[in-house]
Structures are given as structure tokens and as C-alpha cells.
Assembly symmetry: D2
Amino acid sequence: MMLKGFLYPRTTRGRSSLLPAPPWHYSGEMLTIEYRTDPAKVAALLPEGLNPADEDPGAVALIWADWQSCSDTFEELVDPVRSQYKEAFVVVRCKWRDETWSRCLYIWVDKDFALVRGQHQGYPKKLGEMWMTRPVIVGRAGPRLEDGGRLGATLSAGGRRLAEAVVTLGKEVSTPGFVNGHPMLHNRWVPAIESDGRDALRELVTMAGYDAEVRDVWRGEADLAFFESPTEELSDLRPEEIIGGYFHRVGVSWRAGTTLERT
Amino acid sequence: MMLKGFLYPRTTRGRSSLLPAPPWHYSGEMLTIEYRTDPAKVAALLPEGLNPADEDPGAVALIWADWQSCSDTFEELVDPVRSQYKEAFVVVRCKWRDETWSRCLYIWVDKDFALVRGQHQGYPKKLGEMWMTRPVIVGRAGPRLEDGGRLGATLSAGGRRLAEAVVTLGKEVSTPGFVNGHPMLHNRWVPAIESDGRDALRELVTMAGYDAEVRDVWRGEADLAFFESPTEELSDLRPEEIIGGYFHRVGVSWRAGTTLERT
Amino acid sequence: MMLKGFLYPRTTRGRSSLLPAPPWHYSGEMLTIEYRTDPAKVAALLPEGLNPADEDPGAVALIWADWQSCSDTFEELVDPVRSQYKEAFVVVRCKWRDETWSRCLYIWVDKDFALVRGQHQGYPKKLGEMWMTRPVIVGRAGPRLEDGGRLGATLSAGGRRLAEAVVTLGKEVSTPGFVNGHPMLHNRWVPAIESDGRDALRELVTMAGYDAEVRDVWRGEADLAFFESPTEELSDLRPEEIIGGYFHRVGVSWRAGTTLERT
Amino acid sequence: MMLKGFLYPRTTRGRSSLLPAPPWHYSGEMLTIEYRTDPAKVAALLPEGLNPADEDPGAVALIWADWQSCSDTFEELVDPVRSQYKEAFVVVRCKWRDETWSRCLYIWVDKDFALVRGQHQGYPKKLGEMWMTRPVIVGRAGPRLEDGGRLGATLSAGGRRLAEAVVTLGKEVSTPGFVNGHPMLHNRWVPAIESDGRDALRELVTMAGYDAEVRDVWRGEADLAFFESPTEELSDLRPEEIIGGYFHRVGVSWRAGTTLERT
């Protein structure tokens, strides 16, 4: 039979696919902590062929995001178990073919559709548990977007706290940091089922969203702590110097990326 | 020893208490569907001594809420696993001593601190899984607060879908319905450990919040569906006529209630 | 109306009660680590009127349990989301009126029906995430009940790891420790809704199960580690000396307890 | 850098890989319901090139499994959040190149490491919530492996119940059904990041475990019900005739599969 479905399981009608076909639309809030770590620690996580960024090679962004997302049918928006999810991810910059790229080193997410969507885009997604303070406009149980407003964020996986951060807002600015601002440069690696060390798929890909809309960008001070886990190496990237913390709202859509190399 | 702690476990320092002492502050978003069911179905769920409301005795509000809450230390706000939770609850009105009261018949929540806080206030809280669309101001993945904006909400427990609703916004109004607008009239029942049918505690209590602040109240059309479960009777309250759907933001604080009767 | 239901919400038919009426039946596996802590740390957690045990007053049992439980209808057993749950709890001994009792200081559980059942029995239950190795009889992915078999257990709450333990089995024995072997002495405290420091219910209760059946009791070596959390004081009870680790299977039923004192 | 890790994220030390390298060892309990559906419904879910099995082409197995699994370091066994998981899956048979194969059409699992391990093996894994009665040897809260013992199993995803089953044991037998007994024939499909309808990887693979050890195989009667979901097509495979229900324990190891075709 001709089976339908962007992802598995593919079926006659295609309704079962774990991921609807693109485009995908996103609206959310992000909390970003930018900091510097030992540049050698970043370099050690770049695969062969990728090099450290020329400028500020130890710069890292740890980003929490609280999203709604949907397909072009928009049906997920009124069944929000299918549209809401949270994630936390680590972005660095690197150089490839004389250009500067952003690259996601680690990422945790709390829904399966978001995990496999990340795989499609080259994000190395695991499951985790993320929490992030939401700014409010009524009542006492949350910060306002104003000088002194404090937002916290935490990341856990496997019942272990991996990271926590607090951002104390200062003033409104125009851009939420610089580390996550380049086109993404990701690998898509699929090990051969022979499990012999070969990859059945080895791609270097890039991508960017479109129709990005940014609002309410605030910059402030940030505190950040990492904790140990037997299945993570996140704490190797410990901060030597905090650059700053950012809150912003963002809307963006995503349709496709580009394969740069297959090896 | 003199042990400290508003709730159990009480300890030397009191830090372990599952619930910090009041006051508690709340900021959140609510989605309310008001409808009429068979008044006999509401009357059947009122304990002896309580009577149906004189007006509109079959009116019911099914309410979803997406909260941040905190104690007077506000420390929970930057560790949001301790402040964020969602709930869904069913409110009706009743008459007692010639006054009209609101009363919560069923309620589900997704955190333990919120469950026991509900017990303190007389809310019959169970655990459930709630989802509720959030309005957005950027991007395509969410409704705006405007005519035609659609918000969905779902309730599940034990891996079974219990209810789902969609509200299509119409226009801004001044109040989000009338069913949940009176002081609450709740029972606090604690069965005797002898498990012999007696209650060790039987109270009729009332309470209300203070410093309520309401914003962005929208009224619209609503659809609502209930589903069966072997451990629930929610579907007995099925809608005969939808009154309306409401979105609003609310901030409120809570300090104490009043014991009306002990029997 | 005459409402029915052992616990809330009470309704016409009584099906909604979060907890079915007793008796309750339990079948499960337990992993126990017995150790000695500073006796002053145990004494500090006993309320006025209770005193340290005469013998071995610093003895503590940290117990993980992986349960199936059901009511006398047994219907929960074929809808196992309603019968399976895990818990971890800390038991010490104390003296009251010249007798020795067991007392649960802290306990975490992962289902709501088990949380409120604990409240009924005086256990100070919070929600947590527990994992415990299961012994197996086929394959390589688990220990056998034999000399050298290793079982691990972990406890987390709020995305923070609170405790972890490993027991290495030695030999079969007749009893799984001594700390949790006395009738339980618990407080049931319900704060007044006036939130003024008074309790509306203050009881000292005792209870024990019946028809206990114990199988496959093994004793061995144990390692135990506690971790910090802003909402817990568990790590105050850190081990100074490990007594031993135990695995056993147990079946038991529970019908009722006895109120010893109301104040 | 030379990065290490069987799966992503690949790092200097390789500890972060979401999946440890094979071999993987499994020990668990399985509940299988075999039944016949309309053969056209099975045929409709086979991709081009695969044909219905010659015999009993409408035969389906719906299988729940409650696993411990680990890598060759066995370290996951004492940190059981990394070894325990549950799954439910639908297996049919098909014909390819004149041989009969088993094929998994749908599968849900509750841990990320198990989800991506399934992807490696060609299983179309989504996240779900599974529960399955465990037989016991003490107490009243569970069936014995004996005539009349009843075991239930449920499957939910996205807060919706998808399937439930009850097996009433009859007698001990030698094999737990026939549908899942052939080498697996799976597709590994990875859509191109260009999102243009092409797949970057299209493989037909096969695999089988080794060192299988089976114990306690019981056969009995079975009831099975499917429920609707907007994101599933499971209920298309509704039973026309129940063949039987099975419980068994199984241990097995897995190292590698074979790529049969790349297109």
C-alpha cells in the first residue's frame, strides 16, 4: 500500500504519524542565560570539521522555553496536550567553512512529538522536566516585566536536578543575546542497525525559522548552577563568567532545512 | 519536642511541611464554561441541610485554571515546580440559612501541595491531568484575546479523558460568570480511623479570597463534552444548555476561612 | 441528600470517593535499609509526649515498597492504574505510655488514592518518584534472590533526588529488620480553616494490618546516600552506621485503627 | 574532535548518549492478546512490497510488557529509573520474499531511552502510559499464576484511554502465541530535513534477539476493547474474534539487526 504520514507510524490515512507535516508554528516565552565557560570545553564537543568560533569561543547560552506549537491545521491548539511543551537547551557557536553558526549541544523536552521534531531538525533531544516562571499582570504570584522582576528556571531528568537559574530583570533591550542568533549547524546521525559503529545516516544540516516575531525582550542579571548526573556531561560546561540573562516572547514558523553534507 | 509546620510532616524547623503557612498568593488564567444541567442532578449532590439555589438551580460552572501560587516568602516563584499547577473544577450554587453560596462538587489538580491546600479549604481534590490553551501575543501558535479567538481545555485522570471544552471568544465583558461568585460553602470530612462510618471531623466551612484583581475578561460561545469513567460521576452533570464561556486573568490572596458548623 | 463515599467527594452513589472503603489488601515487594543516626536527631522529630525508644534510640528504617493494593471488590486489580503504586518512607521507634511503637516520620508516594489513604492512617504523605529494582527469574536484566544479588532504589521529589540506596543480598533470613515491627503510633493533625495555629483535629492513633504473609526475606549489605532539598529535612537523619539491608515480599490487609487520644 | 556515543548527544567521553551501546539485556513480563481482525485492515497497513501472510492474514497480537533492561555494564539495574519501562505494541505477520515475518505496526513506551532504542530497531515508538497487573505470591492484591487468575492491562496516550484488556488464565502452555514469533521486518524511515516528501533514510531491516529464556507461560480467555483518539488509528484493527490471551516471563538479549534493503 501507499502509506501516508510525515513520520512513523505511516498508515493508510496518515493520522497516526507522531509528527504532523511542516510547517510548524511556535509561540512561546524564553529565558536565556548567556555565560562564558572554558573555550576548550566547547571545542571538545565539536565533531571533526567544526571549529571554535573566532570571537568569544567559550560563549554558551542555556535557554528554557515554554511553548505552544501546532501544524498548519492549527487543530492542536484546542487540544493543548498536543501543543504545549517545555524545553531547555544549550547552544554554542562554531565555525564551519568560514562562517559562524549556532549549534545545540544538549536539549531536553517533555513531549514525544517535540522529541522527534527535534530529531528531524538535528537537535539531540532527551526527555526531561523543565519549569520556568511566567511573568504575570495580576496578583502577587509572579513577577512583572519590570526592573527587579525575578524569573527562575529548573531542569531535571531521571529524577535528578541538572540545572537551575534565576534571572533578575533590569531593562528592556532589543535582542535576547547573541549565541543562539546564527543559522543552526546540526548533525543528524542514525546508527546502522548492524550496531557495528557505522552510521546509516550521517548528515550535516542547517536550518532557520521564518516569520520570527519578538516581543518584550528584557535583560538582567543571572545566577546559574549545574549539578552532577551519571548520564550527563552538562556540568563540564560550568560558567566562569555570566554574561547576562534575558526574557523574551517569540513567535516563529519552521518549514524545512538544508542538507549541507552527507558522509 | 515542639514541632513546627502548618501541615505534616511537622519537624523541628518546619521546613518539611507539605504546605507553607498562609497567606497564599495566586496569579493565573481561568477558562470557565457555564451551563445548565437537570437541577435534580445538582440537588442530589448536596448534603443534608443544603438546598438548591432559588434561582437557576441547575446552573453549573466547569472551570480550568492555570496557576502560579506562593507563600508570603515568595520563594516558590523562582523554583516554579513549587508554584505552578493546573486544576479543573465543578462549581454549583446552593442555599443554606437563607443565603446563596458557591460550592465545589469535584476538583482535580496536578500537584500535592495544591491537593492538600484544597483539603484545608474543603475542596475535594483528586489528582488529574489538565491542559488549557494560553492566549499569545506573538506568532501563530495560539489565539489572541479577540473576537474569534479559540481556547481549548481538557481534563483526564487515571489515563482516561473526563472532559473537554472549547471556548470561542466574542467580546470583552466585566465579569466571568455568576456561578462561582458567592462565598464558598464546603464540608471538611475526615473519617475516623476506626473506619466504622463515623467521621472524626465534620465541618461546614466558608471562605473567600482577598485582594482579588481581575483582568482581560472575555465572554464567548462554548462546547463541552463529558466522558465516562468507573471512578467518576462527572458525566451525570451533563449540559442541557450552554450559558457561555469565559476567559479571564485573576490574582487573589487567601488567608483563612470560617468554621460555620461542627457536627 | 444522604451522600455516600468513604472519602470525598461524597455523592449519591459513592462511586467518586477518592478512596474505597476498607478493608484494603496489599501485595508487594519491599527494600529496607536499617541504620543508626544520631539519636538526638530522632528525638527532635517526636512530638511532645513521645519519647525515644529505650533500646537503640537512633535506629532508623528507610523502606521502599512497590505495591499492588485493592479494595474488597478487587476490581482495581484489573485496572492497575488504580492498584499499583510505589512509596518510600522513614520509620523510627519511640516510647509512649511505657510501650515501644514504630512511627513514620516521612513518606512519599506516587498516587493520590495512596496519599489520602496514608492521611487516613496518619502517614504524612507527599508525592514523590520512587524506583526500586525487581528481582527476576529469567534473563540478565535483574538480580536473582541469591547471595550477591544487587537491588537499587531511588527517591526524588520536585525533580530533586532525595535518597538512593543499593542492597547487596547475602542470605535468606526470617525477618526483615526490627524498626518497622511495632504497632504504628501516628498523629492525625488537621489545621483549623481559620489558619490561626490551632488544629481542628489532633489525634494520636495506632493501627496494624492483619493476615500478614511474608516470603523471600533476604538480608545483606547496604549503601545509602541522602541529598539536600529546600523542602525536606531528610538529610538530617544521615546514617552514622548501617545495620543492614533487606528484601522481602509481603501481603497484608488493613481494616481499621484505634484513636488513642484526642486533644 | 572524535566524539563518542552510540546515539546523540555525542561527546568527548560518550557518557551523555541517550542510549548505551548494545548489547542490551531484557527481563520482563508480557501479557499478549491474540485475535483476528478484518485481513484487509492489516493489509492496508503494509507498505509496498510487503504482502499479507499466507495463513491467518488477519491475526493480530496486542502485547503489553513490563521490563527491566540494561546495557552490558549492568549499571542501570541499580538506578532503576534507567532500566524499568513499560510498553504496549501491536504485531501482525506479513510476507516478503516468500518468507513470513512479524511486524510491529504501533507501539507506545514510557521512557526516552526505550523510545530511541525502538527507533534504532525500526519500532515506531510513541510515548504512552501503560499499566499491567503483576501476578503475586503473597497476599490478596493480585492474581496467582493459576486457573482463574485475572490480569488486566491498559494503554493511554495524551490523557486518552486507547485500549484495555483482561486475560483470565486457564492452563500452563509451552508458547505464548504465534503472531510475534517470526523475525521482525521493520522499516527505518527518516524524512529529509528539506521536508519535501523524500526520506533521507529508507531501510527495510530485520532483527531478532538471542539467548531467549521463557518461563511461566499461561494461556487463557481474553477481553479487549479499543477507544477512539484523534491521533491514532488503532481502533481500525478492532477484534472480530479473540484467539486467546497469554502471560509469560521472558529474558532476552539484543545486539544487532540486518539491513535487508536500502531504497
